[in-house]
Amino acid sequence: MSRVRVLVGTRKGAFILTADGSRRNWDVDGPHFGGWEIYHLKGSPAEPNRIYASQSSAWFGQLIQRSDDGGLSWRAVGNEFAYEDEAATHQGYDGTPHPFEFKRVWHLEPTPTDPDTIYAGVEDAALFRSTDGGLTWQELAGLRRQGSGERWQPGAGGLCLHTVLLDRDRITVAISAAGAFRSDDGGRNWRPINRGLRSDFLPAPEAEIGHCVHRIAAHPARPQTLYMQKHWDVMRSDDAGESWYEVSGNLPSDFGFAIEVHAHEPETVYVIPIQSDSEHYPPGGALRVWRSRTGGHEWEPLTSGLPQRNCYVNVLRAAMAVDSLEPCGVYLGTTGGQLYASTDSGDHWEAIMRDLPPVLSVEVQTLS
């Protein structure tokens, strides 16, 4: 029988929840790395018991932890993220040049076929790759050198590369607040893919660079179709990011962080509208996941089992994920420490944990 493993990164440690395919009773293991910020954990699709975790703290810096037994035990692997070009600069908040300085790993993306090859999206924005299971890391420096790196400027959360999508030799990344970028040759050459994005906070709202992309999601069977939650606006591309168009439709707010695609229905998309960029909580104090079954434009609120009064939590960009069971399970973690799950594609929700530290990321492994 299939099983599900949910990997939860929080401000104060990692938690691993497991259940059988019914997804009714959950075993909770953790906290792992108690007291540390765990920005992200992700398992290898090729070897699911291989899990990587990004462990960091303001006091002690960054570590990468690796488990080869499904999270039962861990060992620290390599944590040296050296930029190729130390003289390169980006714009600071005040617009002056600042050198790129490594701060933390936001996102870990193991490749689909090799458990030892993994990408790391970091702050200050850069992409690193390890081909030895995380022992050593090399920057894919073509990303910062593609011509716009000196104009990148941090969003309020820092200049972070937070999204990595892999499709054979194609790599798509997103950086706050620089935009989306794509390589078609395994990470050597890169170019911005932001045509169609509009950000009114920019001097030139349709500029090639400077958009605060919060998250991009894609269905693995349809990698040309990308869904983006931008600072404001929910966007879609049907040509792997060559051009984007808005699909916010009837959403109560098109500001938000998380976006995810149904495991079996590539046109079914989930977002969690947030009131505004000045008020990081759900509209009207009601936590609602909005689902589109039409690839955007038309959205329906999903409320059953979610708090509909006096709820002022946020759901961060990496804190929503799906399993691949039938029906599809959807999971989200909040800054209030609740972990909600739906076992019926979002129709009904249940809190499977209520009192975690603020949730930074949620990933789900469907295990056979």
């Binding site: 002690f60 570590l63 620290a76 944590n79 993220f81 050296a82 490594f102």
Partner: protein, 98 residues
């Protein structure tokens, strides 16, 4: 022999309890202590000082004999009481955070 008291999170990371005792090869400096800690406990690499810049982490302080050694050159000799093992080096994390 140099005695070192690590903060809680680094003891956990290094999987040690209580004080750490180090034998140093060369001059008994704070830099040599950090080198020795990183050699004996690889998970501590990068936690006391930045891996690439070599700068000590700003939220950490190094105390000994009721003195703050944090701003001394890393190759400065440790106090005699530390070098003879009478006093430990205390590595202390800033009291901050939520």
């Amino acid at each position: 022999m140099i005695r070192v008291v690590l903060p809680y999170h680094l003891r956990t990371l290094a999987r040690v309890e209580g004080e750490v005792r180090l034998e140093l090869d060369g001059p008994e400096s704070l830099g040599a202590v950090i080198d020795a800690l990183e050699r004996r406990y690889p998970p501590l690499r990068g936690t006391l000082r930045d891996n690439t810049t070599g700068r000590c982490r700003p939220f950490l302080r190094f105390f000994a004999c009721q003195e703050d050694l944090s701003h001394q050159p890393l190759d400065a000799l440790l106090p005699e009481a530390v070098r003879c093992g009478a006093e430990p080096v205390l590595i202390v994390g800033a009291v901050a955070g939520g």
